[in-house]
Point group: C2
Chain length 229, copies 2
């Protein structure tokens, strides 16, 4: 029986949050066909991302009821709108309850939180939004990805690639993870080296965080206020 | 005047080849609006990628005649079909002739080669396809990205992110590149460490390379034969 890894599309998601890990698990499926990667959205047809490219899912929520794994990408204002989208949260909650693994990338963890899936768990998200996790009962951790039982949350945007390689290792073993890594040639060489976290001040991003949360929740100022403390 | 960075979509491209660098330059555009990132294809409407997600461009080739930079993603069979698509090659050739920079990711460099843009240049591509570059007069180099004048080619799939950060540094300076890197939290931590290239045998990938080239060029066995030597 195939094991379906379902990536959730919603308006305004960050395209790389989706496409990074999607590429990792779909590449696993190319040589271990029991793993089947799909993209799901409310309807077939293009979904706007927060980048200049639209994204078209392969299935609808109704068509994918029992995924083996669920992955929720993050985004900017659209992600906060998703945090107040009850039918989206209901699908994620139901799919997650039977899934072996539920994962998120970047601010996607806040959607998991809004769905009630992070209560009492350690989790991470984009570095600028980490302070928002306690709103949903989660304990923020500053790591590339955080695994707490069957929930794995990744840090910002590109961290989804690392998280998904970890997921492939967990599901199919280190050899499979190495094979995927080689096929997508994930041997990173950031031209300016790693991020210097000692030079990063999250407070400098607060105006952007406020603007993003409020832009996503124009009709739910109560949730916006809870998130922004 | 805005500087348009145009990413080329064609059927069968690898989604991450596109979305990695796209995210880098579009994030630059968020704080330096003179840089405008667009995706272009023959027609509006979804283009199939080689991953379980469709991609929708923001413009057509006819609408983007004078890009400041052109970026061509790679793929599998679809990329070799693109190497024989004269109207696609004509657009790339014309756009490139006036552009400040022409770039590729993964096997996208073979499309640049088919367009005649790599003659006498050093270039790279996905590690499994590097031997095919001399078909188009290019000298293969085993590096994460290779800059030869106004042409920059990146290695496989995920290398497009590193290449695009280099491009941002070239265009807008190191501070801008660092800012983009931080926003997309590109601080990679491959769970199993870097690729161990001493354990990689490109010959093992030859059957896949042959199959991919032949699948993309069913009506152009002459080009397939040239590519496969």
């Amino acid at each position: 029986m195939s094991k379906t890894i379902a990536y959730v599309l919603y308006p305004g998601l960050t395209a790389l949050d989706l496409v990074g890990p999607l590429t990792v698990t779909a590449t696993l499926g190319a040589f271990e066909p029991e793993y089947r990667t799909v993209t799901v959205a409310r309807e077939r047809g293009p979904v706007d991302s927060d980048m200049p490219v639209g994204l078209v899912p392969t299935a609808t929520f109704d068509e994918v009821r029992d995924p083996f794994a669920v992955v929720v990408p993050g985004g900017q204002a659209g992600t906060f709108a998703a945090c107040a989208d009850e039918s989206l949260l209901a699908w994620i909650r139901e799919a997650s309850s039977a899934a072996e693994v539920t994962a998120s990338v970047c601010t996607g963890s806040l959607i998991l939180g809004a769905a009630g899936l992070l209560r009492g768990r350690k989790a991470t998200t984009h570095w600028g939004f980490r302070d928002l996790l306690p709103t949903f009962g989660a304990t923020p951790v500053a790591r590339r990805w955080v695994e707490d039982g069957d929930v794995i949350t990744a840090a910002g945007v590109s961290a989804g690639i690392d998280m998904a390689l970890h997921l492939v290792g967990r599901l199919a073993g280190a050899q499979a993870a190495r094979r995927v890594q080689l096929m997508i040639e994930y041997d990173p060489q950031p031209p300016l080296g790693p991020v210097d976290w000692t030079a990063v001040d999250p407070a400098a991003l607060r105006p952007y965080v406020h603007q993003t949360v409020n832009a996503g929740l124009p009709h739910d100022s109560a949730l916006a206020a809870r998130l922004l403390g």
